[in-house]
Structures are given as structure tokens and as C-alpha cells.
């Protein structure tokens, strides 16, 4: 399949982009930064093409559906949204320091999707419950949220790197945005993720209402998405009302990310209506 070949190529492009971002941070030369951005952009473009090809192939096979229907496809899409979101942020911020924390996440997800044992990479027809227009909007919004939370998590790590550096930091740390800016960015990402997670839960509820006959059935995935939602709700309240900033926000971003990861992957260990994701 041509699209799986492109996607393994994309995995290497993301790794290369990560290496270039690392060179930039260590050597302090913007030359590497530019290459990193170009490489990541190339990877994103190639991945978009692969996704479209996969989408089209599913139609050629006679059961067309958006490539968002199983675990493999969700991982690929997750990596795609992370890189997209990151590149948009890089463009707006005009600062490339966050890439060194975000790109490895995208690379690892792609690598896992490509080489994990038992990963089903085939395009398969949809069972009746998944044949719904809500599939696309539900998965799209959820993964936009997940991507935003992932970037917030990367920013949280960045924050700790920044604060751990002494009074005379090396070039690696000096290139980073100020602590104030990182904090602002964590908040922005958490807000974006929160809105998309809310949309994801609501679209999921609407779909469940049509497919399962109940908008909420305390399925582990539903419950964990609620837990994640509550954690980020706490995070936003502590900031807006209690004035929490900096280190505490970075910690919250990490806790929230942990919950999100469990919502995405961990619940597969528990019996669930969402079991077709595994």
C-alpha cells in the first residue's frame, strides 16, 4: 500500500525534524531551525497526502470512510494534528524552541503506529455502529483536543527546563521563550484543548444517543474523558480565579496529559464499548 509507505517515510521526516531542532538548540544557529521547520512541514504535507490517499483507497475498496476508524488510523491522525498545531504555533510565535519537545512525541506516535506488534494497518469496512456522520466530527474534535493537551504538556516540560537552568544558562535555554510566555502558551493550549474536548464529548454523546440509545452510559472511555475534562476545568479555574501561574500550571498540564493519555490508551485495558479502538 502506497500510503503506509509514505507514512513510514513521514516517521523518518519527523525524526529528522526533531534532530534539526535539537541541533538548533545545542548549536544556537537558526540555520538548523529553518531546516527543522521545512522538514516538519514536508512531513506534514506528505502525511496529509497519505491520509487523502488512504481515504480514497477506502472508497476504491467499496466501503469508503474517513481514515479515523481504528487504532492505527487514530494514531496517525493524532500525530498529524500535533504537528499541525505545533507548526501553526511556531508561525505565530516566531520561536522554534518548542519543536524539540513536540516533534519527538509525533515521531514516537508514528513509529509506534508503524512497528507495534499486532497493529492492524489495513483499511477495513465499518461495523454498523461506526457508520455515522458523527464518527468524523467526534474523532476530529477529540484529537484536536488531545493534540492541544500534548503541546501544553511539551510546554510544561519546557517550563521545567527553563526554570531548572541556573542564572547563566546555556544557549539551549536562552533560545526558549520567557517563563511568562511559556505560562501564557500553556494556558492557551489548555483552553484550546478544553474547548475541543468539550466538543468531542458532546459530539460523542450525540452519537451515542443515536447509536446506543443513551447519551451517557458511564463507559470507561466516557468516564475518563469526563475525568480529563474535570482536571482541565480545575486547571482553568485555578488560573482564572485563584491566579495560579508558572510551575503549578506546568504541573497541571502534565497531570491533565496523563489523564488524557489514559483516556486514549489506558481504557483499552478496561472493558469498554469503545473496544473497536484497540
Amino acid at each position: 500500500m502506497i500510503h503506509t509507505k509514505i507514512l513510514s517515510g513521514v516517521t523518518f521526516l519527523y525524526f529528522a525534524a526533531f534532530v534539526f531542532y535539537l541541533f538548533r538548540m545545542v548549536l544556537g544557529r537558526e540555520f538548523w531551525g529553518k531546516w527543522a521547520t521545512v522538514t516538519a512541514l514536508g512531513g506534514l504535507a506528505a502525511q496529509s497526502i497519505a491520509l487523502v490517499v488512504r481515504w480514497k483507497t477506502s472508497y476504491d475498496l467499496g466501503f469508503g470512510h474517513a481514515p479515523l476508524s481504528n487504532f492505527y488510523e487514530s494514531l496517525i491522525f493524532f500525530a498529524w494534528t500535533i504537528v499541525l498545531l505545533y507548526l501553526l504555533m511556531e508561525r505565530r510565535l516566531k520561536n522554534r524552541s518548542i519543536g524539540v519537545f513536540v516533534l519527538p512525541v509525533a515521531f514516537l506516535i508514528m513509529a509506534y503506529a508503524s512497528i507495534a506488534p499486532g497493529m492492524n494497518q489495513r483499511i477495513e469496512p465499518l461495523i454498523p455502529a461506526l457508520q455515522s456522520n458523527w464518527l468524523t466530527s467526534h474523532v476530529l474534535t477529540c484529537f484536536m483536543g488531545y493534540a492541544a493537551f500534548t503541546v501544553a504538556f511539551a510546554l510544561g516540560i519546557l517550563y521545567f527546563f527553563k526554570t531548572a537552568a541556573g542564572p547563566r544558562p546555556g544557549v539551549f535555554v536562552r533560545l526558549m521563550p520567557s517563563e511568562f510566555h511559556i505560562d501564557e502558551l500553556i494556558y492557551s493550549c489548555a483552553v484550546l484543548g478544553f474547548i475541543f474536548l468539550t466538543l468531542g464529548i458532546v459530539t460523542g454523546s450525540v452519537w451515542a444517543h443515536y447509536a446506543w440509545g443513551s447519551y451517557w452510559s458511564w463507559d470507561p472511555k466516557e468516564t475518563w474523558s469526563l475525568i480529563t475534562w474535570l482536571i482541565y476545568a480545575v486547571m482553568l479555574h485555578t488560573r482564572l480565579v485563584r491566579g495560579w501561574r508558572g510551575r503549578r500550571m506546568a504541573v497541571m498540564a502534565m497531570v491533565g496529559f496523563g489523564c488524557m493519555l489514559f483516556t486514549y490508551l489506558g481504557v483499552n485495558l478496561l472493558p469498554s464499548l469503545h473496544s473497536y479502538m484497540s
Binding site: 466501503f63 477495513e124 469496512p125 461495523i127 454498523p128 455502529a129 457508520q131 455515522s132 501564557e184 483552553v191 478544553f194 474547548i195 468539550t198 466538543l199 458532546v202 454523546s205 450525540v206 444517543h209 443515536y210 447509536a211 446506543w212 440509545g213 443513551s214 447519551y215 451517557w216 458511564w218 470507561p220 468516564t223 475518563w224 469526563l226 475525568i227 474535570l230 482536571i231 476545568a233 480545575v234 479555574h237 485555578t238 482564572l240 480565579v241 485563584r242 481504557v267 478496561l270 472493558p271
Partner: protein, 463 residues
């Protein structure tokens, strides 16, 4: 502020309480995903000491999401939301109503150097430029001209002050809708074999089946498969009957529920129903061959009037030897022969040639002079339907929309006011900008920088 606030009031008005409650709800939800709930708790009970199980059961750990704990926490959160909103609404309303005066000495008290701009123009021209710039970005712009100076004030995003209340009211409505659903709603399921009619359904919570105010008949069930064997679609053709009269026919598919008189029907599952139809062939030695469609319980006369035969059972796969029909033939003298008729009798005979000697029960020619053969089974399905009535659903749907709308309002817009003061400074004009935002100081700073830069641009172009 009013002095009436008691200890209880301020306790319930506090954000700390909300944070604690949200964390506790998250914690209980987490426990609920780790401890088996409801039906699954039965298997769990066998692995722990009975005393511990009964203690945990008393603590409602096995139905956590419907337990007193959860209801208490949700109730407290609801009270917290109400009191907190009531407590904070009056100042928010005042902020919303507030019309700022263009002339505001206080706000310019310690204006930073970077918030000022010197321009080679006169006060009037600068004020006109500032006015047209502000009008482009703001709805409410006011201007006050004095003898030597000019003041401008612009406001925007006042409605975002209500965003938080919209979100909180939506969450309250959401909780209310869920309560309505759990009190007045019912959730159950029913299996209807093809061709049969039901007038009640079983409740998920157990107990007596609930009668429906109408009857449902499953006329037909069809299932299509992909090449790989996965189901592609399944569909029930239903007829709703009132007092024995067909009122409505509907096709029920997965993801496309059908509503009738407040009850919603969902295509949930399907299966093979007992008592499918079979096609039997009957061969009289040296004579004619009859083919007939039969089902369980059917009784026929033998073609040669030697007796009657009855179909006892129709099996899809008997002892892994394929489809089979159990038949009893009774002669007119009262002798009875009971035997199985296998569809794949030829291949069974090939595998064990002396099967009829070993198991006479498997001999389709046991009643002479007839030999039966099974031509095929027509499978009969039952359709599994989920049946719901939830009057809370519309409330929940509207609250969800409100929740999203409110969040958008809070997070993508913010209330702010900016002032521009224009005063002569030597033969130049000094423009100062100041602003006030309730929530988003960094955003406001950015906006002020932008306004000042744009203003500088415009004034320079004009010259």
C-alpha cells in the same frame, strides 16, 4: 458589597469548594472505572471475602454513578454553582452596565513610556485619526473634546462577562436534565423474533417487564455481510400497532433510531431465533417425491395416508454435523418412529458408513417406505432492540449547546475598555493609550501596542 453574607453563604460561594468538588467527582469517577460496576460486580464478589463485599455494597461502591455519594457531590456542586453565580452576578452586571467616560484622569496616572506616541500633527487631526481607527475595531466609541486636548474611550466584548454564567447555568441544566432522565426515564430492551409481536419490554434495572401502550411487530429482519464476514448493515422492519391496528411501519437501522409515542427504539443486536423453517423432501419407495416447508410443531399427513408426521425440532447445527430436523412419524396403528433428518447425510455416511446401525435415530428412512431428506433451513432471526424513554434528553441537548456557546464566549472574547488621550506637547502632539480588562491583561497589552502602532502609521501617512 452587601453585608448579609453568612458563613454558610461564603462557604458555598467559594471557588475552593468548587475545586474540591470537581476533584472529588473526578476521583469517584476514577474509582468507578476500576471497581466492577453493576452486573460485573457479581463475578468480583466471588473473589473477595463476603463481609468485605457486603460492606462495599452497603457503601454503594458497586453502583457508584448512581450512589448517594455521587448524588450528594452533584447536589453540592449544583448548590455551589448557584450560590457562586448569585454571589458574583451583581458585580458582573454592574461591569456590564458600566459606561466609561472618555475623560479619565485616573487611568493615565502612571502610563508607561511605550504606551505613548509623539506625532507631528495637531490635536484635532490626531483625535480624528484615533476615532476612525477605534470605530473600525470597536462598537461603542466615545469622544470628548476639550479646549486643548481630546479624550477617547472605546469598549468591546461586554457580553463575554456573561459567558461564565451561561456555562454554569448550562451545567446546572445538564445536571437537572440527567436527574429528570434518571427519575422519569426508563431504559430497557426487548427481543422480537421475526413475525412476532411484543407489548412489553424488560428493564435494565431488572424487575417486572414494563408494558408498552402499544404493540410492536417485527415483520422482517435482514442482515448483510461484508466479504470478510463482518456485518455491513442490519435492519428490522417494524410495525407499530394500536388496539390491533397497524399504525405505523418503520425501518430500524443502527444509528437511526425510531421514535413512537415517546419511546425510542434502537437497533442493538440480533441473533438466530429458535424455530426456523425447514424444507423437507419426502420420498416414497418407487413413488413420488413431495417437497414441503415445515417449522417446529407442524403436523402433516403422510402422502400415502399411512400415518402422520410431526416436526419436533429444527436445529441449525446438530452435534457439529450441520442442519437437522427431528421428526416423529406415527402410523395409524399407533407405532411411533422418531429420528433426525440431516441435510449433509451423504457426507456423514461417507465418514462413518455404518452410522445407521450404530445410531438408528439418525436414519431418515426409519419409517418405511418413506425416506426423508432435508433440503435446507431458512434461518429465522430475532432482533434485539434497546427501548428508551428519556424526557431529560432535550434539556441535556440544549445545555450542551449552551455549554459550548458559553465557553466560546469566555475564551475567544473578553471585556475591555481602552482610552486614548491626546494633548499638545511643545509643537507636537502626545498620544497616550491606556486600558482596562477584567481578565485578559496580556491580550489587552497586545491590543494597545497594535492600536498605537497603527495610529502612528496612519498619522505618518497623512503627512
Amino acid at each position: 458589597m452587601t453585608p448579609k453574607k453568612s458563613g454558610i453563604w461564603s462557604f458555598f460561594a467559594s471557588v475552593q469548594l468548587a475545586l474540591v468538588l470537581l476533584s472529588l467527582i473526578a476521583f469517584f469517577a476514577l474509582v468507578g472505572t476500576l471497581v466492577p460496576q453493576r452486573e460485573e460486580a457479581v463475578a468480583f464478589a466471588e473473589r473477595i471475602p463476603p463481609a468485605l463485599f457486603s460492606f462495599l455494597q452497603k457503601m454503594q461502591i458497586f453502583d457508584l454513578y448512581h450512589s448517594a455519594w455521587f448524588i450528594l457531590l452533584s447536589g453540592l456542586l449544583a448548590v455551589n454553582l448557584i450560590i457562586c453565580s448569585l454571589d458574583r452576578f451583581p458585580p458582573a452586571w454592574r461591569r456590564f452596565r458600566m459606561r466609561h467616560e472618555p475623560k479619565n484622569e485616573d487611568i493615565f496616572r502612571d502610563v508607561a513610556e511605550e504606551d505613548t506616541l509623539l506625532a507631528d500633527t495637531d490635536v484635532r487631526t490626531a483625535a480624528d485619526a484615533a476615532l476612525s481607527l477605534l470605530r473600525r475595531k470597536y462598537h461603542a466609541v466615545e469622544r470628548a473634546d476639550e479646549a486643548s486636548s481630546a479624550w477617547l474611550c472605546a469598549q468591546k466584548g461586554r457580553f463575554s462577562l456573561f459567558g461564565v454564567y451561561i456555562v454554569h447555568v448550562s451545567i446546572l441544566a445538564l445536571i437537572a436534565g440527567a436527574v429528570v432522565g434518571s427519575v422519569f426515564g426508563v431504559e430497557g430492551f426487548v427481543h422480537i423474533p421475526e413475525g412476532e409481536t411484543v407489548e412489553s419490554f424488560s428493564l435494565r434495572s431488572g424487575g417486572q417487564p414494563l408494558p408498552l401502550p402499544f404493540a410492536v411487530r417485527c415483520d422482517r429482519f435482514t442482515v448483510e455481510f461484508y466479504e470478510g464476514g463482518m456485518p455491513r448493515t442490519f435492519q428490522s422492519d417494524l410495525t407499530f400497532l394500536k388496539n390491533g391496528r397497524a399504525v405505523r411501519s418503520a425501518k430500524l437501522l443502527v444509528n437511526h433510531p425510531v421514535e413512537f409515542e415517546g419511546f425510542r427504539f434502537y437497533q442493538a443486536s440480533y441473533g438466530a431465533a429458535p424455530g426456523g423453517k425447514a424444507t423437507l423432501a419426502l420420498m416414497r419407495e418407487g413413488g413420488r417425491r413431495d417437497v414441503m416447508n415445515v417449522a417446529e410443531g407442524y403436523v402433516f399427513d403422510l402422502p400415502g395416508r399411512e400415518g402422520t408426521f410431526q416436526v419436533l425440532r429444527v436445529e441449525e447445527n446438530l452435534m457439529k454435523m450441520g442442519p437437522a430436523v427431528k421428526v416423529a412419524v406415527t402410523s395409524r396403528r399407533g407405532q411411533e418412529a422418531v429420528f433426525w433428518v440431516f441435510q449433509q447425510i451423504e457426507s456423514i455416511k461417507k465418514m462413518s458408513p455404518d452410522i445407521f446401525e450404530q445410531v438408528p435415530l439418525f436414519n431418515p428412512g426409519l419409517f418405511r417406505p418413506y425416506t426423508f431428506s432435508l433440503l435446507g433451513l431458512e434461518e429465522k432471526y430475532y432482533t434485539g432492540l434497546q427501548v428508551n424513554r428519556d424526557p431529560g434528553t432535550p434539556v441535556v441537548a440544549v445545555s450542551a449547546l449552551g455549554l459550548i456557546g458559553g465557553l466560546m464566549l469566555i475564551l475567544f472574547s473578553y471585556a475591555r475598555a481602552v482610552w486614548i488621550r491626546i494633548s499638545p506637547s511643545g509643537d507636537q502632539v502626545l498620544l497616550s493609550i491606556a486600558g482596562r480588562s477584567y481578565k485578559n491583561q496580556p491580550g489587552l497589552q497586545k491590543e494597545m501596542r497594535y492600536l498605537l502602532a497603527e495610529l502612528k502609521n496612519r498619522l505618518e501617512k497623512r503627512r
